[in-house]
Subunit: 125 residues, 2 copies
Amino acid sequence: MVKPDSLGQFEQLVMTAILTLRDEAYGVTIHAKVEELARPKAVSLGAVYVTLDRLEDKGLVASWLSDPTPERGGRSKRYYRLEALGERALQESAVTAKRIWDGIVEVWGKEWAKEWGKRWGKEAG
Amino acid sequence: MVKPDSLGQFEQLVMTAILTLRDEAYGVTIHAKVEELARPKAVSLGAVYVTLDRLEDKGLVASWLSDPTPERGGRSKRYYRLEALGERALQESAVTAKRIWDGIVEVWGKEWAKEWGKRWGKEAG
DNA sequence: AGATTTCCCTTACACTGTTGGACAAATGGT
DNA sequence: ACCATTTGTCCAACAGTGTAAGGGAAATCT
């Protein structure tokens, strides 16, 4: 556990993925969700695991191993959830992220925001 | 000029500061605006200058020296503005920032967002 | 048993974040 | 003229985060 300081953007992505996946957050699904959030940028699986490791060292997330499941290749998974410290850190970072967004919209206008919402929002491809 | 890749969060803060300051963007004012955006986290002046340097190397911002002004300590300032490449990079990063915010609000709810807006928005202290 | 599928983890390096202090150029006072 | 003060820029060094590439383990299927 190092410092409850501010998160990097990739750490924010990983933690947001864990948060939104709720009970289905393990390496592979987290990776998929992060790629969805970071689109169109590609993300390597290794990057995700390294970051999960470091977040756990900092006490921001916790993990545990599941039992194997009876499917092909269904080996045990390492599931993750946010710790209280992690929730706090994510909240603060999210507020900063929102200030950035608001500042930009203030200058470039709401028309721009709408346009980008259409092209890059979660609904569209 | 290195790669027009994704920006770190601090780089986003600095560029957003330049954007919103319009014609008044130089080291000291940028530092002040970044601290406002990153509140309550403190930011050192050196961090800002180093980041400005690297952003200029990457061709995302441009700078020029002004004439001195007739006030106490009124030496010449280095002003900054965003380059076209920088605007594009900031837009993409901002979209990712917004996806993070939306994902979090989706889980924690709009009540939470409102509450944090009151306590941490630009209006309040 | 061997092939296939799903998943976890490590090593190594590049880039970004941050501190702390050095240095430069104006004005104001004595 | 000289020195203190104000405003401002910049560098060196280190810590921390981002990323790719590849090694390897545990299931099921045939």
